[in-house]
Each structure stands twice: as C-alpha cells, then as structure tokens.
C-alpha cells in the first residue's frame, strides 16, 4: 500500500504526531498510542468503541469544531485535534 508510506503531521493536545496519510483521526490516534479520547461526565477515561460513528465515544475537537467523531473524519496535514482525556489535561498525550 503506497498510502501507508506517506505520513501527515497533526497536532494532538499540543503535541505533534505523525500518522499515516489517508487514515481516520481515530485510527491515527490509536496508532500514536492514544486510546483515550475523552473524559466521561463522571471523570472516566473513554476511547473508541464502535468505530463507525454510532457511539460518539471518540468525539474530539478538530480545528476548533467540537464533538467531531474521530472515526468519521480523515486526517489532514496540519489538523489540530484536542481530546478531553485526562492526559490532555495533564499537558501530554
């Protein structure tokens, strides 16, 4: 697959991450080792569950637009992704 040889750089919670071109944001985050995408209303760590836009567990802020389902959006060079995970609050992914 030639698409996997190219990478794009995205920013996740202020950290620059290189991910394969053509993947979804959810896939890119998992490949970067980021499994927690949000903190639940009672403070629990949550990550992708359904992978197909149904469960909303992978919702993140993408380029200032909140509540985007990471599994439905393809990565783009320079994209800014903000999770609400506990790690994000601590200043690192």
């Amino acid at each position: 697959m030639d698409s996997s040889t190219r990478v794009v750089r995205i920013t996740v919670d202020q950290q620059i991450v290189e991910v394969p071109a053509g993947v979804t944001v959810a896939a890119g985050l998992l490949d970067a080792g980021i499994w927690s995408t949000r903190t639940s209303v009672r403070g629990e760590a949550r990550g992708p569950l359904c992978g197909m836009g149904v469960c909303f567990e992978c919702r993140v802020t993408i380029d200032d637009v909140s509540a985007q389902r990471a599994c439905l959006v393809a990565v783009r060079e320079g994209m800014r992704v903000e999770t609400t995970s506990v790690h994000a609050a601590q200043g690192g992914a």
Partner: protein
C-alpha cells in the same frame, strides 16, 4: 452540481451506501430513475465493503462498487441524515454534511441504514481498549494497526472469524477467541451451511489465519480490568473463571438494525426491525427499506433486498421469482444464525449495580432498576439522552430489562443549530447561517436529546 445548502429533488433517495443501498441505487438508476444516495461514510460500501486503500475486496463487492461508479446515481458522502418529514408528494430530508445543511426531496425513499453492534454491559466495558468486534474491523479498515497488541476476542456470531483473521494478519497477538454460544450450537449452525460450500470454505480460510489461537465456544467475558486502559479480562466457561492479560478486548453480540429514521417517519416495526412487504415497501407508501434495517441477515440478503427495492421503485412490474426465492432462502439462513448465536442467559446478569450502562450520561445499572420502561429511565436518570441517543444502551436495556426502545425525535443525530435552522428557511439563508455556525464552531451535541 450541488452547492452549499441545495434543495435538491430526486426521484429516489437512498439512505446508506452499503450493499443494500448500492444495489437499490444501481438497479433504479440503471432503469432511468434520478437517484441520490446519502451516506455517512467517507467512501461508498458501508461497513462491510469498507476497505483500506489498495486492499483486495471480494468479487461481489468489486462488482457492485464498479456498477455504482458507472451508473448515474449521485453519491453524497460524509452526510448524516438528521431529519426527515413526510410531505404531500414524498419525503423531505435534512442532512448534516460537514456542518453544512443539505436538503433533499425524495419522491421515493429507500432506507438502507444498516446495523450496528449489540453490546451487553459488564464491569469494565467502558475502559479504553475495549472495542466492538465490528468496531475493531472498522478501525482496522480505517487505517488503525493492532500490531503487537495482545487481543482477546469475546462475543458472539460469525463476524468473529473474519475479524480474528484480520487482526492476526495485522500482527496482533491473539490471546483467546471466545464464542459465547455452545459448541453444539455452533456445530449445528456449521452443519446447516452444507448448501453454501462457499461460506464453509470462507470460514475455513478465516480460521486458518488464526490457527495458532484457540477458538473456544461456550466461553464469555465477565469483566474487564484496568484504570485508564485495559490490562486484563476475566473469562469463564460457566464452570471456571480465569484472567487473561490483554491490551485490547473486542466484544459484541451480533448486530441490531439501525431504525431511527424509519421510526422517525412512523414506519411499523416488529422485533426491532422495519416491517416491509414483498416489494420491500414499509407501512408508508413509497418508503422502502432494505438490508439489515429490516432484520439482520448479512450482505448477500442485503443485496437481494436492495435489488428488489430498486426494481420496485423503477417499475410497477412483478419482481422476478428468482430474486424472491433467493430472499426467502437467505431469510431462513438468517433465522438459523440467530438461533445458533442467541445470547445466553448468563450474559444478562453480568452488569453489577455500579456498572455503567448508558456511556454518554454515565448511568449505572443500579439506577435503572426502579424504572419500568425506557421513557421513565430517561426522565429519571438521563439514560439514553446523550449524544448517541440510546443507540448503545437502548438495545442492551431491551435485552437486560425487556424495555422496548423509546420513540425517536428529530434531529436523530447531533447537529449544529445552523443545519436545523436551514430546515425551515430557503437555500440562501440556510447557506448564510451555515457559514456562521462553522465560524463560531457551534455544535450542540445534546440538542437532539434535550438541553444539558
């Protein structure tokens, strides 16, 4: 060509570009019906035909995707339908396409909305690292890698085999593959496939790809452990329980039809599926349903139902007997599958009082025990009122508590206020309000289900 907030009219609008939707659109468009397909995904094919760029697809998928590419049907991808209303001469549909409103009027409508996984809550199932079985497949297809991860698969249904094969191929370390159905039930189901040697051969090929891992029947997961990420899972075969270290747990108990749009329109439902007649027409004239939303039966049945719906839209003539016979045979096969992989009683007792059932609102099982129905649970606990609007906890509570799913209201998916406002205004002002919404980044994810 479409512009930002177009109000488009079409002879046929198909919702969903999976096997059923593609077959319906191709058959109708090839017969001269002006057809528009609205799909949530980035590429056509739905979940089953979704694939990584350059990956090999089954011949059937290649055939239909090629025909879809060549026919005159127009695909509007990346668009989630948020509202649909019956009008005098058809149905008015509103979709959210990347935050912009899309309004389409359909004379005929085919609902090919597919299915989603059935999850049954157990302690720890909300931990990052616990994903759907189909969810893992979807993530793999969208470019994620599970290479080097210790993976336990524990759930039910034929989907386990291809997903185990894919994960193994991707370099995952498959620890255990557990099917909750008994060995006898799985064997009976396998024996019933003698009429479909191609399916048997496919199952054998999948199994060969994770030959080093045991496929345990009569085994299920009772708990997932970890703090911010899964570390291990507890499995049982009913007589003993043991722990397995795991980075990822894939779980899920088959599929349930996606029916929000059909229910919003008022289509008659039966046992969680949209009721259709021999021509795939729902209880509402000119509104058809095809594929998994009429009952889970797999891609081959979805294709046949889609073809029948497309033919029925295109002409009043009789449906060829070859198609209706094939549909009947595939319905019988689906019934055998549901019997074989029906969730065992023990799975209904896994949720503890403090196990979260509604993941959006963090509602625990204990808080739901006093409610008598989904509506009451909603009012008292907010269960089912978050962004997913009960799509995950609804089917689980149907099984655990016997509650039928509550009525749906527009919008059926979270959307921005600008998209909704476009619903009642003309195209030009809809376009204006859409850009305002995008500028401010306004997104009301709980608007659909009541203010937070």
């Amino acid at each position: 060509m479409m512009t930002d907030a177009d109000h488009v009219r079409a002879g046929l609008v198909v919702i969903g570009a999976g096997p059923a939707g593609i077959a319906a659109a191709v058959v109708a468009a090839e017969r001269g019906v002006r057809t528009i397909v609205i799909d949530r995904g980035l590429e056509p094919g739905g979940q089953i035909w979704r694939h990584r760029a350059g990956a090999k697809l089954p011949a059937t998928a290649m055939h239909w995707l090629a025909r879809f590419g060549h026919c005159d049907a127009e695909l509007l991808s990346g668009a989630s339908v948020v509202d649909a209303r019956r009008a005098a001469d058809g149905v008015d549909i509103v979709a959210d396409r990347g935050g912009r409103p899309l309004r389409v009027h359909a004379r005929d409508l085919v609902l090919a909305c597919g299915a989603r996984e059935l999850f049954l809550p157990f302690p720890g199932w909300t931990l990052p690292g616990v994903v759907g079985i189909g969810g893992a497949q979807a993530l793999l297809k969208s470019g994620a890698s599970f290479a080097g991860q210790r993976v336990v698969i524990a759930g039910s249904g034929p989907l386990i085999l291809p997903v185990a094969a894919s994960l193994s191929h991707d370099g995952a370390r498959l620890v255990t593959v557990a099917e909750q159905a008994s060995g006898a039930a799985v064997a009976r189901f396998g024996a019933g496939l003698w009429r479909s040697p191609a399916l048997v051969a496919q199952a054998v090929r999948y199994r060969a790809r994770f030959a080093a891992t045991r496929y345990r029947t009569g085994t299920w997961v009772t708990a997932a452990h970890g703090t911010e990420r899964l570390t291990h899972v507890t499995l049982t075969d009913g007589s003993r329980a043991w722990d397995e270290a795991a980075d990822v747990l894939c779980t899920g108990y088959g599929l349930v039809p996606s029916t929000e749009l059909a229910r919003l329109l008022g289509c008659t439902m039966e046992r969680g599926a949209v009721v259709v007649d021999a021509r795939q027409v729902t209880s509402i004239p000119r509104v058809y349903a095809a594929g998994e939303s009429t009952g889970i039966g797999g891609a081959p049945l979805s294709i046949v139902e889609g073809m029948i719906a497309g033919l029925a839209v295109a002409s009043p003539g009789a449906i060829p007997a070859s198609l209706t016979r094939r549909r009947s045979a595939l319905h019988r096969a689906a019934t055998r599958m549901h019997q074989a992989f029906a969730p065992r009683q023990e799975l209904r007792t896994l949720a503890a009082h403090d196990t979260i059932v509604c993941r959006c609102e963090d509602v625990r099982f204990g808080a739901l025990l006093t409610a008598s129905c989904a509506r009451q649970a909603k009012l008292h606990t907010r269960a089912g009122m978050g962004p997913c609007q009960g799509r995950i906890c609804g089917p689980a509570l149907e099984l655990l508590r016997g509650w039928s799913v509550d009525t749906v209201r527009s919008p059926i998916e979270p959307t921005s206020i600008s998209v909704l406002c476009a619903d009642d205004s003309d195209g030009a002002s809809a376009s204006d309000s859409a850009s305002t919404g995008a500028d401010t980044g306004s997104s009301f994810s709980s608007l659909a289900a009541g203010a937070r």
